[in-house]
Assembly symmetry: C2
Homo-oligomer: 267 residues x 2
DNA sequence: AAGGTATAAGTTATATGACAAATATTTACA
DNA sequence: TGTAAATATTTGTCATATAACTTATACCTT
């Protein structure tokens, strides 16, 4: 019989797919079955899953439902589908998970999200900088130095690029903790920085920009030096100072008149 | 006939859907188009999207690709599809995003994830408890009290339930910060607690369980009191103490000999 | 025999048509 | 007017066919 599907990995002849339950949609049930097999590592990253046709026979369903199950799985980043070739377990990547958080934050932002972001940075980033000072490698220090060089060379009027470099600086520090959880969870915070900073800069007077960039560079320099010297306490302090300054910049940018104020009364 | 990409009937207010680009798959392009419309809030949560048939005509594609686009969108939590009714923009929920992170953490756990989790908690939770002490409402205090009551009443041998209650305690504190970013990002950390604690308890001597639970209750009590009295510093300290103890428990559970080895020495 | 090319086979992508199942709307009736 | 039945709409699943792409094979040239 060709009942046997793929036997991945080891010699276990038992099908990696659990019997489909009594859920609602067929495509959902098959999605769960395949997901379960992947979670149990019965299929490893890069491995090829059975073809649509094989799964049709295995589950006794039409190609439609198998394809829709694959679509759901690929949308969630669990598998990649290559036309003409097949479906493969995706190399695990944090991007899909991070994108999911970013989407949520974007959709739920009622305009006050930035306050939560700033507060979260105040809470977490000094601790992160302190940890980075303890665990950073020389390679990571070089990356930070390179990032600062990029910042110095960034044209004064290219705000888009500057904020991107800035947020990458903080991502690098989070990575230097060598804590995958910390660096993963902080990514959405840093990813949102450009979005917010755009609106801040938009309200700033142009004259302030040059001085502000000098300060930004100096803050990064201070943080870098502390991390470089392995001084955890100083790194935390430098980071705290940096973020407080950023917050003040933001609050100042709101001063002239909060956008929420109804027109009718003005200066 | 259906060659024409028609503008929606009548006076033609601009279509909410952007023109499809030059991506690879049709279903992917249509997914992006619909996602973009949702991100721009041209369709709000709960609103009904066009039917499959309408989208087929609008994009001049088959039902197959429209359905697969919908499957992807629903897998990502952007829309919900109700048979016989239609597709609706999903009420925004953090669950999908959190699940995505949880899946990533589970798949990438090589056995050392727990160290990162513990360290992340050490970094973040004291700060969170401190913030919660400042912003908690009386309702949230009641929830915390109720949670502690649940913990006291939990059977000593029901580890599954105990860990669930425990992690919920910490989730409640994160929520009490009234910072959506903080409570969202910490969720995966707390969600992973039961998974890890199972293995810790499994290696603990049964005799320790009663004393250990008493200590757990006392820690929660201390944290609660500090948060209740609005003492930010004390709340952070109590939380720090709690987590350090948890870490020691974990490290102790590894002592006798990493996995496999039966504990042969006890008090 | 080695290497490249054309061909064939396998696999996914899309289209179409049909019917089932669930829901929504309209109609008919009391 | 309110309710129930009938009808229409919409999504779910199946089946078949063809296009587009990938991989494997056979063949040819050198």
């Amino acid at each position: 019989m060709e009942e046997e599907i793929h036997s991945p990995a080891g010699g276990n002849p038992v099908s990696p797919f659990q019997k489909i339950g009594s859920e609602k949609l067929l495509s959902g049930r098959i999605e769960e079955s395949i997901e379960s097999a992947i979670r149990k590592k019965q299929y490893l990253a890069g491995q090829k899953l059975p073809t649509e046709g094989e799964l049709c026979k295995l589950f006794s369903v039409s190609r439609t439902v198998v394809r829709e199950a694959f679509r759901r799985l690929s949308a969630r980043g669990l598998v990649v589908i290559r036309q003409g070739s097949g479906a493969y377990v995706n190399e695990i990547s944090s991007e899909s998970a991070i994108d999911s958080i970013n989407l949520y934050l974007e959709l739920t932002d009622d305009g006050n999200m930035i306050f939560d972001i700033i507060r979260a940075r105040q809470l977490f980033e000094p601790e992160i900088a302190g940890l980075a000072a303890l665990y950073r490698t020389t390679g990571e220090l070089e990356e930070l130095a390179g990032n600062m060089e990029e910042l110095r060379n960034c044209p004064l009027d290219d705000i888009e690029k500057e904020t991107e470099i800035d947020s990458r600086f903080h991502i690098l520090i989070a990575k230097a903790t060598h804590n995958t959880v910390v660096s993963l969870l902080m990514r959405p915070v840093f990813d949102s920085m450009p979005r917010f900073k755009r609106s801040i800069f938009a309200k700033n007077k142009i004259d302030d920009r040059q001085a502000e960039k000098r300060r930004l560079i100096q803050f990064h320099e201070d943080i870098y030096q502390a991390i470089n010297s392995g001084d955890s306490r100083e790194a935390a302090y430098a980071m705290q100072t940096h973020i407080k300054r950023s917050e003040r910049n933001f609050l100042d940018s709101l001063k002239p008149g909060v956008e929420g104020l109804k027109p009718g009364v003005d200066g």
